[in-house]
Amino acid sequence: MTMNMTSLLHIPTAFILAPLLLGIINRTKAFFAGRKGQPLLQAYYDIAKLLQKSAVYSRTTSWVFRAGPVASLAAVTTALLVVPVGGSAAPFHFSGDLIFLAYLLGVVRFFTVIAALDTGSPFEGMGASREVQFSVLAEPALLLSLAAMSLIGKIPAADSMLFQGFFASLSEIYARLTLAAWSHSGTVLLLAASAIMIVLLTENSRIPVDDPNTHLELTMIHEVMVLDHSGPDFAMILYAAALKLWIFCALLAGVLMPVRSGNFLLDTTTIIAGIFMIAIGIGVIESIMARLRLLRIPQLLSGAGVFALLAIVLVLKK
C-alpha cells in the first residue's frame, strides 16, 4: 500500500465541497423549471439545522437503527481515501483497491438497508428491496467498466498481463487515462464512462432511477429507507449521500477530463471543475426527462452492464 501525503488534501476538499453538489443540481433544475431555486448552500444549512436537533427513535427499533447512519458515514469516508482525483493519486492506493471501493460502497448500502428493515415499516422494506435489487445490477457494471479502463494500453499478449492489468490500483488506472488514451481507445472510455454515469444516477438515487424530490413513499427507493431517521442521524445520512455523490462524480470526471499535467494543483482543480460540471449535467438530465417506470430500471442497469462488457471486449480485441 502506498500513501500519498499531498493527496491527503483531497479529503478536506471533498468534506467541504460535497454538499455543494446538491446545491448545484437543484439550482440547475430550478433554472429549467423557470424558478429561482433554493440557495446554493442549502444542503449545508440543512445539515447544520439537523445537527442542532435531537433524534427521535421509534420504540420498535434497536441499536441497528442507530448504528446505520454512523457506519454508513464511516464507510463512505474510508472509501474517499482510495478515490483518485483525476491523475493525482488517492491518499492510499494498492493493487485491487477498486474491489475495496466497491465493497465499502456495499457496506454503506448494507447498513442503510438493515437500518431501514429494523424499523419494520412496510415502506422501508419496499425501499430496501428495491435498493438491493438495483444495486445487484449496478455493482457489476461499475466493476466491469473500471476493469475495462484498467486494460487500456496493455496488450494482453499473455494471461499474466491480463492478470496484472486487473490488479492495478485505481490511482494507477486513472493516471494512465491521458489524452493519448482517449485518442486510441476513445470508444472504450466512452462506453465505460456511460456505464459509470448510469451507475452514478442509480447509486445516488437520481432521476431516471429514483426521484430525490418526491414525497410519495410508495415510489421512493433511497428516500423511503431513511424516512425514520431524524436529527443528527439524518444529518449524517445527508452528508454521507453528498460524499458518495462526490466519489462517483470524481470517478466519472477522472475519465472525462484527461488532464494529466503532473502539476498537482492544475490537475486537481480541473477535475473539481469537472465534478461541478457533472453536477450540472445531472441537473439537466433531471430536468429534461421523467422517471422510469420501476419495472424498466433493471433494463437500464443491464444496459450499463452491457456497455461495460462491450468496453472490455473492445479493449481486449486491440
Binding site: 433544475k29 429549467f32 423549471a33 423557470g34 424558478r35 412496510p122 415502506f123 422494506g125 419496499m126 432521476i207 431516471p208 426521484d211 424530490n213 418526491t214 414525497h215 410519495l216 413513499e217 410508495l218 415510489t219 433531471e286 430536468s287 429534461i288 426527462m289 421523467a290 422517471r291 422510469l292 417506470r293 420501476l294 419495472l295 424498466r296
Partner: protein, 508 residues
C-alpha cells in the same frame, strides 16, 4: 324513444321541480325491477338515498339519469327493514346501498361488500326497540386480505407525507404487483347533509361553498339551481353567463393543477412548475371577478353576487390569452417528452365496459370513451344555448385522463372567450320567491371532477325535508381501486393523481 314516458312514469329535467305527489311510492319489487331495467337500458344511478317518513319507515329514493333523453327519473319506495340488495345485479348501486345501510340501518341483503362508508353513528337504531348503536371506530373494518407466503400488505394513510386530505389505502401486494387495493374514507365527515334539513338558512350557502373547497362554483351552482327550481325563479341570461364563466374557470384551474401534478409525479419538473404558476393565474382571474380565488360569493341564489363591466371583461380576455399561450407551451412540452409518455401510457387503464358498470362520471369516464357530460346531456343555464364539445379519449389510462383534461381546458377557454364577448345587458340578480311545499327538485352540474348531483325534498312548510349531495368522487373512488389491480404499487401515486378525487366531497 322513452319507454318510461310511454308507461306514464313521471320524469324531470335538470333544474326543474315537481310536486312529490307526482312520484308515487312503488312497491319494493317494482322499484327494483324498474331500476334494473332502466340501468340495463343505459340509465345511470345519479343518486340513491333514504328519507325518514312518518311511521318509522324509510323512503328509498333513486334518481336515474337517462342521458339520451336528457331526463331524470325519480323513483321511490318504502321499507322499514331489510330488502334484497340491488348491487349484485347493478354495480353502480354499491356505494349508495352501503351509505343507506350506514345511515338508516336498512340492510341490503346479499350486498357483497357491506362495510361502513364514513364511520358515523347510524341516524336511527337498528330496528325499533334496540338502543342506539355507537359510531364504529373510524378505519376499523374487515379489510379484504390476500394470504400467501410472498404476499405482503402495505397500509398508507390516513396521514400522508404530502399536504393532502386524509384517507386510508390498504394494498395487498405480491412483490411490486398490486393484487388488490381497498380504500377507506370518512375522516372528513362533517355531517353536512344532516345540517341542511329544515333549511335553507343563512348558513346553507356557506356549507355549499366549502363542501369541497376546489369545487366551490360547482356545488354552489347546483345548490342555487335547486333553490331556483323550488321557487320557480328564472335567472337572467347574464347571470347564467357569469356562472358558466366561473364554472369553466374552475375547471381550467383544477385541470391545469392536475396536469402539473401528474408531471411532478413522474419527476418531470418544468411542466410541474409552470402549471403550478398558471393555475394561480387562473384562480386570480376568478378573484378579479369576485374577490376570492375559489369563487366564494360569486354564485348566489337568484343570480350572481358580482357583475363584470367592460373594462373587467377586457382584462379577463387579456389574462385568458396569456394563460392559453403559457399553458400550451407547458403542456405540449409534456406530450413531446417520450419518457413522460412512457410513464403515462398504459398506467391504470380502465376498460369502457367497466367504466360503464361502475357508473363513472367526469373526465375519468370520458377518458374511457364514455360520452358523459352534464353540460351536453342535461344542459341547464347557459349550456342550453351554447354547446361545449364533449372531450373523450379511448384508452382509459393515465394518458387518456391527462389528455381529456387538456382538451377540456382548451374548449373551456374558447367558451369563456365567446361568452365574454357576448354578454347581454341585464341585471344579474332576480329575487327568489318562497320555496314550494312538498316538492322535489334535482340539479346536476358538470363540475371539473364530473357530475355534481343535488336533490332537495321540501316539507309542508317549504323547508328542506331532505337534502342529498352526490359529489362526483362518490362515483369514482371505487374506480381508483379498480384501476390499480395488477399494476405496480410504485405507480399508485400517479394513478391517484390522474383521478384526483375529493375526500371532503365524498365524506360530506
Amino acid at each position: 324513444m322513452s319507454e318510461s314516458t310511454a308507461s306514464g312514469r313521471f320524469s324531470l329535467s335538470n333544474g326543474q321541480s315537481a310536486s312529490i305527489s307526482q312520484t308515487p311510492v312503488m312497491g319494493m319489487a317494482s322499484f327494483q325491477e324498474t331500476v334494473l331495467h332502466e340501468v340495463e337500458d343505459g340509465a345511470r344511478i345519479s343518486a340513491m338515498f333514504g328519507q325518514p317518513v312518518d311511521g318509522g319507515n324509510i323512503r328509498l329514493w333513486a334518481i336515474l339519469s337517462q342521458d339520451r333523453q336528457s331526463l331524470l327519473l325519480p323513483l321511490c319506495t318504502e321499507t322499514d327493514a331489510d330488502y334484497p340488495a340491488l348491487t349484485p345485479h347493478c354495480t353502480q348501486a354499491h356505494g349508495f346501498e352501503r351509505e343507506i345501510w350506514e345511515q338508516w340501518r336498512i340492510r341490503p341483503q346479499g350486498h357483497p361488500w357491506l362495510k361502513p362508508v364514513r364511520f358515523h353513528a347510524p341516524y336511527r337504531s337498528e330496528s325499533a326497540g334496540t338502543s342506539d348503536a355507537a359510531a364504529p371506530e373510524i378505519g376499523v373494518m374487515p379489510f379484504f386480505k390476500v394470504e400467501g407466503e410472498e404476499v405482503h400488505e402495505v397500509a398508507v394513510g390516513p396521514v400522508h407525507a404530502g399536504i393532502i386530505e386524509p384517507g386510508h389505502f390498504r394494498f395487498q401486494c405480491y412483490g411490486e404487483n398490486v393484487l388488490h387495493l381497498e380504500i377507506s374514507l370518512g375522516y372528513q365527515h362533517r355531517g353536512i347533509e344532516r345540517h341542511l334539513t329544515s333549511g335553507p338558512d343563512p348558513r346553507t350557502l356557506h356549507y355549499m361553498e366549502t363542501l369541497a373547497g376546489d369545487t366551490t362554483i360547482g356545488h354552489t351552482t347546483a345548490y342555487c339551481q335547486i333553490l331556483e327550481a323550488l321557487s320557480g325563479t328564472g335567472i337572467s341570461v347574464r347571470a347564467q353567463v357569469l356562472r358558466g364563466i366561473a364554472l369553466e374557470l374552475e375547471r381550467i384551474a383544477n385541470h391545469t393543477g392536475d396536469i402539473g401534478a401528474l408531471a411532478g409525479d413522474v419527476g418531470f419538473l418544468p411542466t410541474l412548475s409552470y402549471c403550478g404558476r398558471i393555475r394561480g393565474d387562473v384562480l386570480n382571474m376568478t378573484a378579479v371577478i369576485c374577490g376570492n380565488r375559489f369563487g366564494r360569493g360569486l354564485v348566489r341564489p337568484g343570480g350572481a353576487g358580482h357583475d363584470l363591466d367592460t373594462a373587467l371583461r377586457h382584462e379577463l380576455q387579456q389574462r385568458l390569452n396569456a394563460v392559453e399561450k403559457d399553458l400550451s407551451v407547458a403542456v405540449n412540452l409534456l406530450w413531446k417528452t417520450s419518457s413522460v409518455m412512457a410513464r403515462f401510457e398504459g398506467a391504470g387503464a380502465i376498460r369502457r365496459e367497466d367504466a360503464e358498470m361502475l357508473g363513472l362520471v367526469g373526465p375519468v369516464a370520458r377518458a374511457c370513451g364514455l360520452e358523459r357530460d352534464v353540460r351536453n346531456d342535461m344542459p341547464h343555464g347557459i349550456f342550453q344555448f351554447t354547446q361545449i364539445p364533449v372531450s373523450t379519449c379511448s384508452s382509459g389510462d393515465v394518458m387518456a385522463r391527462a389528455h381529456v383534461r387538456w382538451l377540456e381546458i382548451q374548449r373551456s377557454i374558447t367558451f369563456i372567450r365567446e361568452q365574454l364577448d357576448s354578454m347581454p345587458d341585464e341585471t344579474v340578480t332576480t329575487p327568489l320567491s318562497p320555496l314550494k311545499p312538498d316538492h322535489i327538485a334535482v340539479s346536476l352540474v358538470e363540475g371539473w371532477r364530473g357530475e355534481i348531483c343535488h336533490i332537495a325534498l321540501t316539507d309542508r312548510q317549504g323547508r328542506f325535508a331532505a337534502y342529498k349531495i352526490v359529489d362526483p368522487s362518490f362515483h369514482n373512488w371505487f374506480a381508483l381501486a379498480y384501476a390499480l389491480r395488477n399494476q405496480q404499487i410504485s405507480d399508485f401515486p400517479l394513478c391517484n393523481k390522474s383521478f384526483n378525487l375529493s375526500y371532503c366531497g365524498h365524506d360530506l
